[in-house]
């Protein structure tokens, strides 16, 4: 008797929980792979996600941040490529996935990974030292042209987004810059404060602290429209107060994706789990807070839309790299 009831309950339980069993869930801690050094924009974002997932109980297993910034991030790409079928690793990617294979001939193509979702777009801003006389982009470009030795422009890494922006600024204005590749955006920020470089093209998050301290000023943002956050960041300015470069007569635009990827050859169930997970992450207060603080553009894309976007974005980046002459022969 009791045997029967027990079996019956077990069967019933099995039936009712069937959908839950079918859905895949990670059984081990999930590694969130960062293709940059500690403290960089990707690392900060990974840690925000880790916190958001933990605080809101979005996943049973813990999430571990794994820094693979070696070789300017190539390490992370190779690591993801060689982890085929392992759904416990997720990469937090940026434009490097298009550019690094072109400039350094690294055997990698983002199509070998499984795209999960785009979670944000990052801005670029042209910054200069606060003590310099120029007030806007025009003054700055005039000063750069008039200077005997070319202005020094700082940025992260070589033959990447920062240098591409520098090259296009040169092409559009005719001013000449010497580009200084630093290891991180933080270094480029402090070197700007110390007046060792004349400008940098950091992401908002990388210059946030020195901007708030009044040590640097924001000349323009490389986007079609202004950044849509109106809360005051410095004493007098909000992100929205920074004009776009186009308004100021410098027609250069660039946005950088921040997207999540799984290794290649994972099952659809596994992919579905992460699509759902990161959808939930973008709805958390932690995420929203982070977007505003770091002046990121909250964009969410997945599935077909994402694949289409990646294809177009890849074409744009490749064209830029070709035009800048950064593609290794």
């Amino acid at each position: 008797m009791s045997y029967f009831t027990r079996t019956a309950t077990a069967v019933a339980a099995l039936l009712f929980s069937a959908p839950a069993i079918a859905a895949w869930e990670p059984t081990k801690p999930v590694e969130i792979v960062v293709a940059a050094g500690a403290g960089g924009a990707s690392d900060q974002m990974a840690r925000m996600m880790q916190a958001a997932i933990q605080k809101n109980n979005l996943m049973k297993q813990p999430m571990v941040v794994s820094l693979k910034g070696g070789a300017s991030g190539a390490e992370a790409l190779i690591y993801m490529k060689s982890s085929e079928g392992d759904a416990n690793k997720v990469l937090i990617a940026y434009s490097l996935i298009y550019m690094l294979p072109l400039s350094a001939k690294i055997p990698f193509n983002w199509r070998e990974l499984t795209p999960v979702s785009v979670v944000a777009m990052d801005q670029f801003v042209l910054w200069s030292n606060a003590s310099k006389p120029y007030k806007n982009v025009k003054d700055f470009i005039e000063a750069a042209k008039a200077s005997g030795t070319p202005f020094k422009m700082g940025g992260t890494g070589s033959k990447r987004e920062d240098q591409v922006l520098t090259v296009f600024t040169e092409k559009k204005t005719g001013a000449k810059f010497n580009y200084l590749p630093y290891k991180s955006g933080g270094e480029a920020a402090t070197q700007l404060v110390g007046n060792h470089i004349d400008a940098n093209v950091n992401n908002p998050s990388e210059n946030l602290e020195v901007w708030r301290a009044g040590q640097v000023k924001a000349l323009c943002v490389f986007d079609k429209e202004r950044i849509n956050y109106t809360n005051k960041v410095t004493d007098t300015q909000s992100w929205k107060d920074i004009p776009t470069c186009k308004e100021e007569g410098l027609d250069v635009q660039y946005l950088m994706l921040r997207a999540m990827f799984l290794p290649g050859k994972v099952t659809d169930d596994q992919k579905a789990f992460y699509v759902d997970l990161f959808k939930k992450v973008t709805e958390t207060p932690e995420y929203k807070d982070y977007m505003e603080k770091q002046a990121l553009k909250p964009v969410y894309m997945t599935g077909e839309a994402m694949t289409k976007f990646l294809g177009e974005d890849d074409a744009v980046n490749t064209a830029l790299m070709n035009e800048a002459g950064f593609v290794a022969k």
């Binding site: 070696g70 400039s103 055997p107 602290e209």
Partner: protein
Amino acid sequence: MEALGLLMQGFGVLLTWKILALMMVGLVLGIFVGVLPGLGGPNGVAILLPLTFTMDPTSAIVMLSCIYWGALFGGAITSILFNIPGEAWSVATTFDGYPMAQQGKAAEALTAAFTSSFIGSFAAVLLITFLAPAISSFALKFGPPEFFAVYLLTFCSFVGLGREDKHKTIISMSLGLLLAGIGLDTVSGQLRMTFGSSDMLRGVNFLVAVIGLFGISEILLTMEERLALRGHAAKISLRTVWQVWTDMPRYWVTLLRSSAIGCWLGITPGGAIAASFMGYNLAKRFSKDKESFGKGRIEGVFAPETAAHASGTAALLPMLALGIPGSGTAAILLGGLMVWGLNPGPLLFVEHKDFVWGLIASMYLGNIVGLILVLSTVPVFAAVLRVPFAAIAPMIVVSCAIGAFAIQNAMFDIWLMLVFGVIGYVFKKIGIPLAPLTLALVLGNRAEDAFRLSMIGAEGNLGVFWSNKLVGTITTLAIVLLFWPILDRLIAGISKARRPARA
């Protein structure tokens, strides 16, 4: 006083149960590591480093520096009780420390050693406290040429002032610089020396190399020797402590002199080894009773220990302020800073005030707690030596492997560690110094990047290294130090040539 205010803030950061607990753990692990044969300060810190990877930087550095203080204290235990200097800088301590133990005065010798370590460190920490605020205002003056000049100075002083065969120092340093260059070149974005291997993309990690060069090779070297030992046990009573302490003010000149020597040699890359010998020799020279040195004189313990610890502590100042390690352990702490995302260098004092002052405050606290801890637990730690090496050796191997793997989660690094272990063993035996190699590995990339960024900024004009007073002075000094042996001989030659003329 700006320094005092900041220091109080630092103490505020520290005084939480979690950090105090980590300090105790660090100290105990450190003493353990200092006592064990085949380990010692730098190795211990290197092996235990991965434990701290998931901590926040302040807790991490507090724990690591406590391991370091612990190891310094621990080294004295084996020197005095067993006549085995755990570290090269403890050699001078054995001169009078071991004879004291033989005469049944082990407790006095140990108390003297611990107390003078404390005094030495304390003097150096005071120095750091009052110099640190000045550094942060100085910090923003450093651009690429200044950084390069400072790195050049460090490299040149190694070649010029090192006591090993010059060609061996050069081999070691150029090998290190070459290995540091493997991987993706930041300035041009090009791959180099990877031979198409994706494992080589990452390059040779400094910490992996250190774990192999020091950890693994030290086990191999230790195995070669006879591991039998014979020594004295000791228990320190409050009465002995009191006796030694009341006796100590008589030696204030020695203590003061040794502290000064230590601080000076720690900041300039002279190192703790030189400091301990210099402290000992000077104490002997100025003593009225020179004969009694080496026969168990307490002053002979005070002098080298104070100097060694003052210098070991002071070595942290150039590490934090300029990103240049003054000692092997400081080099590993430097590697740690980079792992936690902190950029060692002058800007650290501007960007991470909390971290820097937390560390300085932990030096005070760590030393006081450490002193009390060692005084009360000497018998326990002396007994560690009874544990057979056959049990310790595999545990060290495992710890090394964990350390090497955790840095980049790469299996390849474990093999790299093993290769460096063998290289370290062979190099040590044929007299190729390892210090320049490790220094080059940790500074190589930064030096090259700084040079090339200077060149881009100055459009290829080498004059940029003499473009202002600061950078010009450092560069010139570097070149003088590189050719120091030749200059030294020239000066000696000139004065010799003059003397007969005068006679």
